[in-house]
């Protein structure tokens, strides 16, 4: 495939150059925060649009680069920078990297386009140039994370990614919750990185080099105990970024705090960098391990999925709700990866390939619909300036396009056929069911439980999105914010349109992407076609056993036909439909009031009751007394759910640390005599030591 190798170089240059220019260019347009004059506003706008233009261009380059690598089948490599004391740095875009690069770039295109319109509201209010700078660096660092072919470069760009995310989270830093979220995020991710550092150095100890290539060469030479150590480091280190339970607590704080275009990127691709790392280490650097690895990952996956969606159900903050769903979806992705680990430890490469494929396809799909949903949420927040869905409602009429795209996103994340979320969950189910072929008791227990909880997760997710979508867009506006809402600008809608289209396309034509992703899995497990085959673009089958399949393309066309059929049949049988618009019955009042609608809290109450052990909800009802009995009294209802992780894991750790620190701090007494005594004691101890 010699012909295609000339081009990746160009695309690579476009990718790196585009983001770099985008980052730098905007900084030339820095103006003071309160620039009100028209000309300076114009300059600011110009700078920011140039920045986003470059990032769009660079993302296009990234897409082209990843496709050219995936199609060519040979990795794109580059070596540079021999100046650090760890040998040269290198870029190595293999199949796996190319796949993740495709996810990043694709979402990058959409979000960059969205940002043109979305950031207009910052002009004149905030330092937009810095935002554009950070945005471009953020995208660039993520692209470099997957492209890095060397642990040092990986760590550098990994941390650059963390820092830029931190600054983006606290971009609206006047808000103390943003600052707290930023601190929480960066602290957790830094601890994760410390583990990764240890892991890479351990690997480098065996490979005598920091290059991934060298890691791969020694994968069979590492003793099992060290392997386990590396596995755990990777699981926790990358899990921190991915937001697995119980390391997820930063995620619901950080995602809402960032501007929505950044939330989309964070949730859509940044947390996937954790998944990328896991796949890279588990399947590329490590030889298949004992079966408890897979079981542990499955356990974490199940916990993340179920708890993620349950916490999401309790949320009324639209962006926090979406953030909890990211935890859920990371869980679903990890089900695929855990199953792949489990299967590969039994040597079933074909099964492992299907499971990994399911996980990776969900990575792509989640990026699409979660990106779409965050952009939609951004559009809602942009229009109403509130994230509390109990203050929204009736936006269907004010933001018709946003509503339509959000509906597609909601349907996709709820895994409704024939959208993309359905396909990847279907694949995950199939992958898990294949596990029944493995004659091992632990597997046979783990698989049904995982299946059950995946099913539970899917159902709860649907409930949650009925709530989120219904309360936000349907019914009557619950506040003045919602009443004054207006539709977003074209660029924002266009970006959402792209992603909505992707959700549909990856759903009805999964064949295209799956044949690309199977190149990734076959790079780890060899040919995997025997366990899953793509009959045509729109039909997948699992030939194993008696065979089972799904054809979303057919489903969609039949569904369309069946929607039309009743219209026609009804017309034939009973004539034209007669409709009349009228006010609904308002229980005797003159007209329906928004307060009569079900609230988000009310909607999720049955589920809260069912899972009360997990939520530990407490509520407070306060009825103000001073009002007359004949007049509506004010009732305040406050509901709190308690995080078991906060209470039993994080709070004790924090308190113990502080208590220990307080004890150590006593050594600095302020008495000079004690300081001199320290010197004396040290001297005496050392004299003993020197003996």
């Amino acid at each position: 495939m010699g012909y295609s190798l000339a081009l990746p170089g160009f695309y690579f240059a476009l990718l790196i150059g585009g983001f770099s220019f985008g980052a730098v260019v905007s900084l030339f347009f820095v103006r003071s925060n309160n620039a009100n004059e028209l000309t300076s506003q114009f300059v600011i706008r110009l700078g920011k649009n140039l920045g986003f233009g470059f990032s769009t261009l660079a993302s296009l380059g990234g897409c082209a680069l990843s496709l050219s690598v995936l199609l060519a089948g040979s990795p794109y490599q580059l070596e540079f920078g021999r100046t650090l004391p760890f040998g040269p740095l290198s870029i190595n875009i293999d199949q796996l990297a190319a796949f993740f690069l495709a996810v990043i770039s694709f979402l990058g295109i959409a979000v960059s386009i969205y940002s043109f319109g979305y950031t207009n509201e910052f002009v004149g209010r905030r330092n937009i140039a810095v935002f554009v700078f950070l945005y471009n660096v953020f995208l660039l660092s993520m692209a470099l994370v997957v492209m890095a072919g060397n642990a040092i470069l990986f760590l550098i760009v990994w941390e650059v990614m963390s820092v830029t995310t931190y600054f983006l989270i606290i971009y609206e830093h006047e808000d103390s919750s943003s600052r707290k979220a930023g601190i929480l995020y960066i602290v957790m991710t830094h601890i994760g990185t410390a583990l990764l550092l240890v892991m890479f150095i351990t690997l480098a100890g065996f490979a005598h080099s920091f290059s991934f290539e060298a890691f791969r060469h020694v994968r069979t030479q590492i003793p099992p105990s060290v392997n386990t150590w590396i596995f755990l480091c990777a699981l926790v280190g990358f899990g921190m970024k991915a937001g697995i339970v119980p390391l997820h607590i930063w995620l619901p704080e950080a995602h809402p705090a960032a501007p929505s275009n950044v939330s989309a990127l964070m949730s859509g691709v940044m947390i996937k960098m954790g998944i990328y790392g896991m796949v890279r280490v588990f399947f590329d650097f490590l030889a298949p391990g004992p079966e408890w690895w897979g079981i542990l990952v499955l356990f974490i996956a199940v916990a993340s999925a179920v708890l993620g969606v349950l916490y999401a159900l309790m949320e009324h903050d639209l962006k926090r709700l979406l953030a909890f769903h990211s935890i859920e979806n990371i869980g679903i992705i990890l089900m695929g990866i855990g199953a792949a680990l489990l299967f590969s430890s039994f040597g079933s490469k074909t099964l492992a390939a299907v499971a990994l494929l399911a996980g990776l396809y969900h990575v792509l799909n989640h990026a699409m619909f979660k990106g779409l949903l965050f952009l939609g949420a951004g559009s809602v927040v942009h229009a109403t300036h509130t994230r509390n869905i109990d203050e929204l409602g009736g936006l269907a009429k004010k933001l018709p396009w946003t509503m339509f795209f959000f509906l597609i996103g909601s349907a996709a994340i709820s895994a409704l056929p024939p959208l993309n979320g359905f396909i990847s969950e279907w694949l995950t189910f199939q992958a898990l069911l294949l596990g029944f072929d493995i004659p091992d008791l632990a597997v046979r227990l783990a698989v049904p439980v995982t299946v059950a909880l995946l099913a539970l997760t899917g159902a709860l997710a649907a409930a949650c999105f009925v709530k989120a979508f219904g309360v936000t867009f349907l019914g009557l506006p619950r506040s003045a914010h919602a009443e004054k809402a207006h539709e977003s600008s074209f660029s924002m809608l266009f970006a959402m349109g792209i992603l909505a289209l992707a959700c549909v396309a990856f759903g009805i034509a999964p064949g295209i992407m799956i044949s690309l992703i199977s190149r990734v899995t076959s790079s780890f497990f060899g040919e995997s076609g025997s366990a899953l085959s793509v009959l045509n673009v729109g039909t997948l089958t699992i030939p194993r056993g008696a065979g089972s399949g799904v054809s979303p393309l057919m489903l969609l066309s039949l569904l369309a036909g069946l929607i039309i059929a009743p219209i026609v049949v009804g017309f034939v049988l009973a004539g034209k439909i007669r409709t009349r618009t009228a006010m609904i019955w308002a229980g005797g009042l003159e007209k329906v009031e928004p307060r009569m609608q079900y609230t988000a809290a009310g909607f999720s109450k049955p589920i809260r009751m069912i899972f009360s052990n997990i939520f530990r909800a407490t509520h407070e009802i306060e009825i103000s007394e001073e009002m007359s009995a004949f007049y509506k009294p004010q009732i305040r209802y406050e509901l709190k759910t308690e995080s078991i992780f906060q209470k039993y894991l994080y709070a004790p750790v924090r308190q113990t640390t502080i208590a220990a620190a307080k004890i150590v701090r006593r050594i600095q007494t302020g008495h000079i005599q004690s300081y001199l005594a320290y010197i004396f004691i040290t001297l005496i101890l050392l004299l003993l030591f020197a003996r």
Partner: protein, 318 residues
């Protein structure tokens, strides 16, 4: 080409059969219940009359609603029809079986429910929200229970394709009475009760705000929209009964399109569904409506039964 045409013809037959049988099953249940309660009750064809009346009535659309309200009846009905195409009734495999397996069917139910719940919220009335909330909460436990129950048979047959499952189970007699299937059947039966809104989970006969689930969601619907929704919900009942009948007792199922076996198939199907309908009526008569927050306990029973079924199968093996 002939194959293609026959696919369509056979499918059309199946869908028509289902459409025709749907109100009848509902009528049988109502009649049985009436009889058990020492009433005479309406004729078993009453549902047909109700539907045709509703078809001709005017639709009142709430001024507060959006287009979601209007597409919901079509989406819900279309989903049910689509499922009806995928579920084996009198013969297996159904022509379109490769299009979607049991997972697809369950998610199609979910899709219908998703829109139905949105339709309930769209009008902005308190009842709609109440119904949607309850429906989604109950479904969140019912859906996994159903999936597990079905998977128990799916892993026995080595496929998630419903037609293949049924076909396999009807041809290889040995594995029919796997102990796990008993549990799965019990689980799926409870699921059926819950999913189709029968007593003791929901009461299809009343409009009392304390108890309403399904009826609350469709409270604002009228005329032809209501007819479609009613038809859809009745069809759901039939689909569930066919699932129960054919997955666990694929006796008499036609495995080719020979006229004789088709006739046997039809007869067997009608018999099995009728028996199940009467059982449902018996259950409905024998039980009082549960308090709403007692319902999850019942559903948990279904969930646990189904999970146990799958684990049991998993451990004992075939």
């Amino acid at each position: 080409m002939i194959e293609f045409a026959s696919t369509f013809i056979v499918s059309a037959i199946q869908i028509l059969l289902m459409l025709l049988a749907t109100p009848l099953v509902c009528g049988i249940i109502r009649k049985t219940k009436a009889r058990l309660q020492n009433r005479r009750g309406a004729t078993i064809f009453q549902p047909y009359l109700d539907l045709s009346k509703l078809m001709r009535k005017e639709v009142i659309i709430p001024s507060t609603s959006s287009w979601i309200f209007r597409i919901t009846p079509y989406v819900v009905l279309a989903s049910m029809l689509l499922i009806a195409l995928l579920v084996p009734t009198i013969f297996a495999p159904v022509p379109f079986h490769w299009m979607g397996d049991i997972i697809t069917i369950i998610y199609l139910f979910a899709a219908a429910r998703f829109f139905l719940a949105l339709g309930g919220l769209d009008a902005g009335s308190a009842f709609g929200g109440l119904g949607s909330s309850r429906e989604m909460s109950i479904a969140s436990i019912v859906e996994p229970a159903m999936m597990l129950a079905v998977f128990t048979t799916a892993v026995t047959a080595g496929s998630t394709d419903l037609s293949i499952i049924v076909n396999r189970l009807s041809t290889t007699q040995a594995s029919i009475i796997h102990p796990s299937h008993v549990l799965a059947f019990a689980g799926l039966f409870i699921v059926t009760i819950a999913e189709t809104g029968r007593l003791p989970v929901d009461n299809p006969g009343t409009h009392l705000e304390l108890t309403m689930i399904h009826e609350a969601m469709i409270l604002e619907y009228s005329g032809r929209y209501l007819a479609f929704l009613e038809l859809a919900s009745q069809m759901k009942l039939l689909i569930f009964l066919s699932l129960l009948a054919n997955m666990f007792a694929p006796v008499g199922m036609a495995i080719d399109t020979a006229p004789l076996s088709l006739i046997v198939g039809v007869a067997a199907f009608i018999l099995k569904v009728a028996i199940l309908a009467i059982v449902v009526a018996l259950v409905e008569t024998a039980n009082a409506k549960l308090r709403l927050f007692r319902v999850p306990e019942l559903l948990m029973v279904a969930f646990v039964l189904s999970l146990l079924a799958l684990i049991l199968y998993s451990i004992i093996g075939s």
